[in-house]
Symmetry: C2
Subunit: 207 residues, 2 copies
DNA sequence: ACTTGACTAATACGATCGTATGATTTTATA
DNA sequence: TATAAAATCATACGATCGTATTAGTCAAGT
């Protein structure tokens, strides 16, 4: 195995953390290089520019996530089960990559068009999810309604829980890193989504 | 009625839009003052500093929203109905204040403690919502589970739809400002939350 | 041993940042 | 209309920004 602590590695890791914590504009090259114990010019040298480093960090976070989820969407099985698994998977992924939720929020909060790479990933992911939901609707698993809207509802849950770690920690004297706590929250999110999307047998729930 | 176009008003409005679009750090005093057709020193003169202007914008957006929702939480009636109404109200509020969702995302994405004012509002709102959910659980309206987690699930929906306007516009050749479209999305979000939180009569939905 | 290429280091540069300053203009009050 | 207060203005200042420049270090390749 290569030495895992080259200057490039340190820059990349520190940049990911700082961009996540403070955003692109509020994170200076000097902040990153000094924390990474590298020279001021190191980012320009190794990555070309601050902007290029940011893009690289961004893609390195978003791409594997999107690919994982798209793969999950395309597996066989009842649509509702797949969506439950998808939410759980998404949740786990966000939890294993604590910087990712903040990046996703930053992306969502952005004004103007997404960077090309991200837009393409987003389209593929949305297409896969919408396709899955529509299949569920055809097969009678999932309640009727505009599939894109349902897709937004699905995605909203794990993103928010990945984010709400601070909130969860505040609330319930629970450690948001405790795997047991993670599992509880995960099961909860998955169950809420499943139930929200399902077709309820009787008309027990008025509109 | 006072003239609605003083320098202070223009600064405030432009600042709100630009902070929402680009964030605090990426929005310069010069950007705001020039767009507001005011002098460079106008922000310092009228608000004290850029930071003070930002805080003022933030509070002016978040406070009325929180108060509206807290009032909604404390009204009588079946808890599930109240939550459905709450989501609808929240959605409408976000839609009437298009800058608000981005601010909320920026707040959520922030690292470190919230500003005092916001933390207090958040606590009050969460308390009201959790209380409402717990009441619903006692009264048999709402499924069991940790109320704070359910509260996060509830809040996630309207925030995401307020945000996903861009996504919705991309997807379905719908105009996200068309009141009819708004109403459809709103009803959808409200219904999803209601169904997700409800107690399902039979065990039709496996965990 | 010498050269070459990859990397690190120190510093400088121009641009832009938020704010301060003092003059000038506008507005309001007497 | 005279005068005080409020607001606007042009400009300057020091700090910090991202990047360029140039020199120095070090390990392979020959």
């Amino acid at each position: 195995m290569k030495t895992p602590d080259t200057t490039v590695d340190r820059l990349f890791l520190v940049a990911r953390r700082r961009f996540a914590e403070r955003g692109y504009a509020a994170t200076s090259v000097r902040d990153i290089t000094s924390r990474a114990k590298a020279n001021l010019g190191a980012i320009t040298y190794h990555f070309g520019s601050k902007e290029a480093l940011y893009q690289q960090v961004l893609v390195s976070l978003v791409e594997p996530m999107a690919n994982t989820l798209i793969r999950e969407c395309n597996q066989p099985g009842p649509a509702l089960d797949r969506i439950g698994a998808l939410v759980a998977q998404y949740y786990r992924h966000l939890h294993q990559n604590p910087d990712l939720p903040r990046f996703m929020l930053q992306i969502l909060a952005e004004h103007g068009p997404l960077p090309r790479v991200l837009a393409e990933l987003q389209n593929r992911l949305r297409g896969a999810l919408v396709g899955l939901i529509e299949r569920g609707q055809r097969e009678g698993d999932i309640r009727p309604g505009p599939a894109p809207l349902l897709a937004v509802s699905v995605i909203a849950q794990p993103i928010f829980f990945g984010l709400a770690r601070r909130v969860v920690a505040q609330i319930g004297r629970m450690d948001p890193d405790d795997p047991a706590v993670v599992e509880v929250a995960l099961r909860h999110a998955s169950a809420i989504v499943r139930q929200g999307l399902a077709i309820i047998p009787q008309g027990g729930i008025p509109a």
